[in-house]
Symmetry: C2
Subunit: 124 residues, 2 copies
DNA sequence: CCGCGATATGTTTCGAAGAACATATCGGTA
DNA sequence: TACCGATATGTTCTTCGAAACATATCGCGG
């Protein structure tokens, strides 16, 4: 696998809740896609990962928090699926909020660093 | 290898300058220690990594920026050593600044998340 | 001119993380 | 009741990165 996908943003934020669990860009994206698609496997595939890997990440979150962020259903009318619990939604929303706040907070410094680098590139 | 840098902070920030280079907690710490100890190997050892690994990180930064963040000397009166260039110092300072800004920006949300989790823990 | 301490690199070994493959289970529907 | 799609989970195979080990170089000081 390759590096954490450097999305279009300025940085990657990993929020450490405690020793058992954290939330980073990948986990947040996965939660978001599960919420949107109603399926762990579909969400995982859309991010280029196997069902097993996606499922493992969900487990890590559920166990880490001590309560499910994702609820799953097997069988049933829609042949199973998954959706976010209130907790899962809360975690996702907090993460997105922190991401946004961070981006604004560091925008100036990032700009300065990028300027430093392009000065170097031009000079050569 | 064990993943999370157990810092005391709220989160880990990785700042993506561009596709070639980024600065994260580990690289920043390494730069700081090089500045303080005047040696790549000493700085690396103090962080529990091999000289080779430390040297590799320095290379990645130097190459990524297109100019050295760390200057090295072989032999000489002090039997070689390393120190930060102005660029290296600038990068380090910017990173620390961004770290601080981020911590203040997200403190509230982190607190909320931790509260959510301890509510769960108590309830069981 | 040899040794020391630090940088600079190559080679090999090892382990962990993920991918790939294989089942098992569930519970509706046809 | 056979089937389907999705969850759930175990096992094996690959791959990639780091660790470990091994040199080579540098340049002053003794």
């Amino acid at each position: 696998m390759k590096r954490p996908v450097p999305i279009s943003g300025l940085g990657h934020l990993r929020v450490v809740i405690d020793q058992d669990v954290y939330v980073g860009p990948g986990r947040a994206d996965l939660l978001e896609r599960i919420a949107g698609m109603g399926s762990i496997s579909a969400a995982g595939k859309s991010m280029g990962m196997s069902y097993k890997r996606a499922w493992g990440l969900v487990q890590a979150l559920n166990e880490g928090f001590g309560a499910p962020l994702v609820e799953t259903v097997r069988g049933g009318t829609r042949q199973g699926g998954a959706r976010l619990t209130d907790l899962g939604l809360a975690v996702l929303n907090h993460y997105r909020a922190m991401e946004a706040k961070t981006e604004t907070a560091i925008a100036g410094d990032v700009e300065a660093l990028r300027a430093l680098k392009s000065d170097i590139a031009e000079r050569k």
